[in-house]
């Protein structure tokens, strides 16, 4: 149905002079020229004029073109056949496949009420030593993975996919937002190779795609996860890499709409936009959504408004640190800011809780001693401090881990370490049982117990 005419074009935005009242906010409209089919989403209506954002490049658009309404808005087709398929942000498969006998669901529809939400779940071990020790998680949990550029967020996400998902045997949804297309392709190939592709559905709006695609990929992927949760009543794993890119895309759209920005140019509606998405990622009594969300930290600035807005919604956070990465210790985790709600004697048990406290005390003392050593040398330290110094270095090395998905970088096969072993090893290191083992032998190993035998 025809709704009006294009009256202006700039970058991603068009203005439409409306001739009727058929169109509303978030409706999809389209324009056809001799060569191209353009699609847009309406973002704002002021009297007779609607403002819409293009799904793709705007080259070739001109004034006076007729604008038509697409029935139903942005929808995603789904059925049991979504698993093993790859979708783009606007809900269509891009791997050349078709969804048979689909039903459709609008990508903005679902909203949970408080009574639907379920908050208790079993603990979920990831087999990554430093995560299980400092930041354990459980079903229905929302875990953030924060890090600046190039410190290993994506590798960690892939390791989690490998470990959690292979062990939990549940279906999952991967949403690629504003990340590298090469990685999307590699993930697809790896899943195919590992025989896991039939358990995962993917949605991509990658960094080469325009702001609209990057902003809406999350909605499309989420709709797939909701289908598995609501209609298939499953426990779903949702991986979002990277949620920050959605916020970034939204600020590009807000600029096009000439809205007033807040600090660092973010969209005025920053908090609203994040809440809208995050509140949908929850568990019900029928099924759960456990999510891992990578968060990019722009300019290594932890105080960034968008990063904070996202963190409000999470149950735990894992922070990756450039200083650790620089030392070649991966996963490069900053243990001081890595936290989880589950570090509580009632949930993980008294022993685990006490060991975390003690390990943090050692590492924070080490941080102070490091500066003293840099000036005075190690020999000036008291015997107690020397113990703390050497054991902390061993502990730090111990928390590096060979990862299954990083085998090509390290040449060392990955290791899945059980939490009981981690607790024993940490206790051993802190109490001096490893004092005679050279610190370099603790890097990139699984469990440390084998080192004691020889």
């Amino acid at each position: 149905m025809r709704i009006g005419k294009v009256v202006s074009v700039s970058g991603l935005k068009i203005e439409i002079l409306l001739e009727n009242e058929a169109a509303g906010i978030r409706d999809t409209v389209y324009v056809d020229t001799e060569t191209t089919h353009y699609r847009f989403e309406i973002e704002e209506i002021r009297g007779q004029v609607a403002y819409a954002i293009a799904f793709d490049m705007a080259n070739g658009l001109r004034r006076g073109l007729d604008v038509y309404l697409e029935e139903g808005g942005l929808q995603i087709e789904y059925s049991d056949a979504i698993l093993g398929k790859v979708f783009h942000s606007y809900g269509e498969p891009i791997d050349g496949s078709k969804v048979e006998n689909p039903r459709t669901r609008g990508i903005y529809e679902r909203n949970l009420s408080m009574s639907e939400i379920e908050i208790d779940g079993d603990i979920l071990w990831t087999g990554v030593k430093v995560l299980d020790f400092f930041a354990p998680m459980r079903k229905g949990f929302k875990m953030g993975l924060l890090g600046g550029a190039g410190v290993g967020k994506t590798v960690l996400i892939k390791e989690l996919i490998h470990n959690v998902y292979a062990n939990l045997q549940s279906n999952s949804v991967f949403v690629g937002v504003g990340e590298r297309s090469r990685e999307g392709r590699d993930l697809y190939d790896e899943m195919l190779e590992a025989g896991l592709l039939d358990k995962i559905a993917m949605a991509f709006g990658q960094m080469g795609d325009n702001a609209m695609a990057r902003s809406r990929a999350v909605h499309s992927g989420l709709t797939l996860a909701e289908y598995l949760r609501d209609e298939r009543r499953q426990d779903v794993l949702l991986f979002i890499d990277n949620i920050y890119r959605m916020v970034q895309a939204n600020s590009e759209i807000a600029t096009e709409l000439e809205r007033m920005p807040i600090d660092n140019g973010y969209s005025t509606a920053l908090l609203t936009e994040i809440s809208e998405v995050e509140e949908r990622i929850n568990s019900t009594d029928g099924g759960s959504i456990t999510s891992f969300q990578a968060i990019f930290i722009p300019a290594d600035d932890m105080t960034d408004a968008a990063v904070h807005a996202i963190l409000q919604h999470l149950d735990g956070q894992v922070v990756l640190d450039r200083k650790v990465a620089e030392k070649g210790l991966y996963p490069a985790i900053d243990v001081f800011s890595t936290t989880s709600r589950l570090i509580d004697p009632e949930i993980v048990g008294q022993r685990h809780f006490d060991l975390v406290e003690k390990a943090l005390w050692f590492l924070s003392r080490y941080r102070d001693l490091e500066q003293i050593v840099a000036v005075l040398g190690i020999d000036e330290l008291s015997q107690d401090d020397q113990n703390v110094f050497y054991r902390s270095r061993k502990l730090r090395n111990y928390f590096s881990q060979p990862m299954f998905v990083a085998e090509q970088f390290t040449g060392i096969p990955g290791a899945f370490v059980k939490i009981e072993e981690v607790l024993d090893d940490v206790e051993g290191i802190l109490t001096g049982r490893f004092d005679n083992v050279d610190e370099s032998r603790l890097t990139y190993i699984g469990s440390a117990s084998t080192l004691l035998k020889g």
Binding site: V7, S8, V9, S10, E15, D56, M57, A58, N59, G60, L61, R62, R63, G64, V86, I94, A149, G150, T154, G178, R180, S181, R182, G184, R185, M207, G208, D209, N210, A211, Q248, A249, S251, E252, A254, T255, E258, M260, P261, N264, G265, Y266, P298, A299, D300, R322, E326, K327, G328, E370, V373, A374, L376, G377, I378, Q408, F409, G411, D438, T443
Partner: protein
């Protein structure tokens, strides 16, 4: 040559027959540097080519309700209010000649050294749509730079985007030039894109590559400092279109972009002049997308061709965590970080081995290089870290293990020293580490 002109003439005759040779016109109503506002031109398309006066040219940057904004790519004589503007009825495109190899060229199809246009040329779009995920394949074939510190420790593959980042005068461009020189007989087409460089600098690059015998397979795309900002902004995209043009014919292409910090600044300049809202550090919010869509052209295509990109980014005070740098790092598949301190200490290339990363790692190395490289890298990194702690300790009191470790580390670092255009083959690199393990 006749071919091109014949084609042009027959196209014009065709247009006259169909009555499509009627151009829309308008008049200049405002000028702000290289952004010109024009009234009229009712039916003009977004990104259409526009000619103003007799010798200025540009493209449609925004279509308003009553007027049109044109960004100038060529500024001829002075533009006056009321000057006539003509919409040319075609998209603003790149003019490219296959004969460009071996020359310094611009997006208008002109040979910058000879000062004349190529006789036979084709029109290509400035920007093409994103290369979809499903037509890509894994990056596995090595792209050798001839530099041990890169090929062994932080290797690059065909289809990879590897950032070269560091302060002024730390040898960033030199690494890229070494990499180009090392592509001789590797069946690689190289494109060096100079964004906002001086004419002197570009001429120097040309001479160096010529001397190395590398111009036989290299095109230099130049947008000089004093050209209209929109040209500087569009040139990298245009160069990428050319790279894609060759990749689709199954060729391997290496693109060097020198440099993206300058490109970001040009992008900011144009955005702010056009009245867009500034964000962090006054860059517009779409600065990430501007670089992401450019660098996402780098890929291994499933049909065999590839585009590898070595973008260069200049930092200040060795800070690689500023906004533009972290943006680009989060796009590329790894970074070679250069440090002024290493440079001053004579460690050349001045690579900071702790901060450099290759996200593809061993996947793009031969088994021998991968095996040796991963051991050398681990030893080197732990040496560099321990060096700081044990700097004051007495070597004689160290455990044998630790002392060996320290001595080996120092030797590795020495082994990685390499001066410009002193390129090594993988065999030479492996040989230099023989006997150490």
């Amino acid at each position: 040559m006749e071919n091109g002109i014949d084609k042009l003439i027959s196209q014009k005759i065709e247009a006259m027959k169909n009555g499509t040779n009627v151009y829309q016109t308008g008049h200049v109503i405002a000028v702000r540097d290289y952004i010109v506002e024009i009234s009229g031109m009712e039916q003009v398309s977004y990104f259409e080519r526009v000619v103003i006066g007799s010798d200025s040219e540009g493209y449609v940057d925004a279509i308003g309700r009553t007027s049109v904004m044109v960004a100038l790519t060529k500024k001829g004589s002075k533009i006056h209010i009321g000057d006539e503007a003509v919409a040319m009825g075609e998209e603003f495109q790149l003019t490219f000649s296959e004969e460009s190899i071996g020359h310094v060229v611009d997006i208008f199809g002109e040979d910058k050294l000879m000062g004349q246009r190529f006789a036979d040329s084709i029109q290509l779009p400035i920007e093409t749509p994103a290369i979809p995920i499903m037509v890509r394949s894994s990056v596995v074939r090595p792209l050798l730079t001839g530099i041990s510190g890169i090929d062994m420790l932080y290797p690059i593959g065909r289809g990879q985007r590897q950032l070269i980042i560091g302060d002024k005068k730390t040898g960033k461009s030199q690494i890229a030039l070494d990499a180009i020189a090392n592509q001789k007989d590797q069946n690689m087409l190289c494109i060096y894109v100079a964004v906002g460089k001086t004419k002197k600098e570009v001429k120097d690059v040309y001479n160096q590559l010529l001397k190395q015998g590398a111009m036989g397979y290299t095109i230099i795309f130049a947008a000089f400092n004093d050209e209209c900002a929109p040209v500087l902004e569009k040139t990298p995209y245009a160069a990428m279109t050319v790279a894609e043009h060759y990749m689709r014919q199954g060729r391997d292409v290496l693109v060097v972009i020198d440099d993206l910090k300058r490109h970001a600044d040009v992008h900011r300049e144009i955005s702010l002049l056009s009245g867009k809202v500034p964000g962090r550090d006054a860059y517009p919010p779409d600065i990430f997308y501007a670089h992401a869509r450019l660098l996402e052209k780098g890929c291994q295509h499933m049909d065999g061709g590839s585009i590898s990109i070595l973008p260069i980014c200049e930092t200040k005070g060795g800070d690689i965590t500023d906004y533009i740098s972290t943006n680009i790092i989060s796009i590329t598949d790894g970074q070679i970080v250069l440090s002024a301190r290493s440079f001053e200490q004579g460690q050349k290339p001045a690579i900071n081995y702790g901060l450099s990363v290759s996200r593809l790692g061993g996947a793009v190395q031969t088994p021998e290089m991968k095996k040796r490289g991963s051991v050398v890298r681990r030893d080197l990194l732990s040496y560099l870290e321990q060096k700081e702690i044990f700097e004051l300790a007495n070597m004689d009191e160290m455990s044998q293990d630790l002392r060996d470790h320290m001595l080996r580390g120092a030797k590795i670092l020495e082994n990685l020293k390499q001066y410009k255009f002193a390129l090594r083959t993988p065999e030479e690199m492996l040989r230099s580490f023989e006997g150490m393990y």
